[in-house]
Amino acid sequence: MTKGVSGPEGLSALGADYAADLTLTTAVCVIGTGVGGAVLASELAEAGLRVVMLEKGGHYTRRDFNQREADMMPLLYADGGARTTRDGGIVLLHGESVGGGTTVNWGICFDPPADVLKVWGDRHGVDGIGFDVLKPYLGKVRHILNVQRIRAEEVNRNNRLLLSGARALGWHADTFEHNRTGCLQSGFCMLGCAYDRKQGMGITYVPRALHFGARLLPRAEVTGFVNEGNRVVGAAGVLTNSKNGRQFRLRVQAQAFVVAAGAIGTPALLRGAGIWDTGNQLGQNLCIHPTTALLALFDEAVRGHEGIHYSAYCGEFHDQGIVLEGMFAYPGLLGSALFRSGAEAQRILTRYNDAAIAIVLLHDDGRGSVMPGSDGRPVIDYVVSAGDQAKLRQGMKSLARLYFAAGASEVLIPHLEPVMLRSVQELDRIDTLSLRPNDLALFSAHQMGTAAMGADVDGSATDSDGRLHGWQNLYVCDGSLFPSSIGVNPQITIATLATRMGDRLTRILKGQTNGRA
């Protein structure tokens, strides 16, 4: 049930046209406007709290999204999409603009997995995290983002091939739920939706937060904090004028500070500012859903770049920590993903329209870390565990089998040594592939776990409220909070946790001030 309020506010007044130093006082300072920060800011503002949102990246809208990789990647992705683990072996894609990852994601929605939530409660001691407890928060998130099942007529041929291959083998497969409304199926979600149909934070929770009185400062980079004992009293940073590049000082004083810069940005910012938790866990426990992509060639046109790229999945191996998801990529991303195959890639790319692509996504048990580097960029380490390597091989074999069942003539494994499979009889070749860093093309679009919630201060970075252990008023609100990876696309889980946190933080802050904040 909903009750309408006043109409949408224009976003045009939100440019970063700074002309002087700025000092602000507010109740809550939220750093980051991805799904965690935007949802939390909106919840707090709706509850009547004064909120300032700081975003390191720029504020771009549909008018800026020209659907060209060469222009959009530097604007919308951290390091222009070139960020990797320290050994170069895994590309880490994450958004860096107003809306964060939701500006560039594929809009896939999975409810928080009940079995994972149970583990977080039982094993990690997180309270108030059961699926039934989260249900009201989840309901609100689904409503505002207008989450719905992708309709059969919206599934493009690339994804239909995934469904047909799975069904031919008797495997479970289905379409995703997504947060698009009235999708025009242009297929450019990863470069920002030029038609405002994908319900990213930039057109949902951010305007909602502004509607309820929050303030947004794009191109506002926090560089440090001022603390008195274990209480943060201020954040310091730099404002950059988006037109002329001039920089000004920023100071924010607040009752509470929430860092929501993503599982890479959050620990890098806090540790870089000399802040860590009681048990020194901040930055540890990085989970990334290691992912690789296989490309299959068919004898008839697939034209996977047309329509919704990412609309169906095979969940047959979900219990084993493997999900196969249909996806596609623009030429630049596809070319870079296939780079290891040299001449073979050149041949295949001339058959772009005959290619189907899907990913193997792992519910990882491997672990990594994020630490601030000497040049201000995060240093990211991640080792694909032996168990995850076995899952990778099984996932690739399963996906290749699926594609042959769907009628593929060839399946490409994006390995340093070109591997082109031509029948199911060749699947065993996958067992002998070396998986040293940089051998197999790996990437991650989901980073989690670097400020994990938990009851044990020596084994987690934050408590059940998302508060950094050892600090009175410093919180984290993004995928960092996950005690483990979740095995599915995480945006709805993050949004649900942020809604829950909004409830808890409102009670805490209003309790401190007798309802005035």
Partner: protein, 196 residues
């Protein structure tokens, strides 16, 4: 960095410095770069030569030089974090001077095309992790930038963006009034499930 990689790095550095003078003379033969924003002329030339190794002339598609891979890389990383720029420049520097480690008394830019291809293959198949890492990073970069350029799209059968092509005719252009978020729930007050 392992001990082996450290030795590789320092040996390349020493050989590069020892032969720096000769290289500067040879640098005169490098193709003239346009006005550059991120890379210097030597780095641009290394990228330009690399693009020709990865994307040589072939029937039906343009080569890496025609597409302008090196200049497009330069534009792409113009505003990148200085640390990332430094990493890329270091990778290009290692690549440029690496031939000394393979018994070639010259830089990458001075190798014949056939030798450049063999040299790239050395790095791709190297047992040294740093070499494979540099190879992967540079090939990934060149491949990405090559395919980002509209000049390559026709040979792939990629139609390109809707913006400025399809959407205007359909009345959906992103500048127009039609493109307004149709989600009715964004600003609604949620009173479901007992919460308000």
């Amino acid at each position: 960095m392992t001990r082996r990689e450290f030795l590789l790095f320092t040996t390349t550095l020493a050989l590069g410095l020892l032969n720096g003078a000769g290289a500067r003379v040879a640098g005169a033969a490098v193709a003239a770069a346009p006005a550059l924003r991120c890379f210097n002329q030597r780095e641009w030339a290394t990228l330009d030569a690399l693009a020709m190794v990865f994307w040589p002339a072939a029937a039906g598609r343009p080569d890496g030089r025609v597409v302008g891979v090196a200049s497009a890389c330069d534009r792409l990383f113009e505003g990148a974090h200085p640390g990332l720029q430094r990493e890329l420049k270091l990778a290009l520097w290692l690549w440029e001077w690496g031939p000394y480690l393979h018994g070639e008394w010259c830089s990458f830019g001075q190798l014949s095309m056939a030798s450049r291809v063999r040299y790239a293959e050395h790095w791709r198949t190297s047992a040294i992790g740093l070499c494979r890492r540099v190879f992967v990073a540079l090939q990934r970069l060149c491949a990405m930038v090559y395919h980002m350029q509209p000049a390559t799209w026709q040979s792939m059968g990629y139609d390109g963006p809707w913006v400025g092509r399809l959407d205007v005719g359909l009345g959906l252009d992103s500048q127009g009034a039609v493109a307004v978020n149709p989600n009715p729930n964004v600003l609604s007050v949620w009173v479901g499930d007992g919460r308000q």
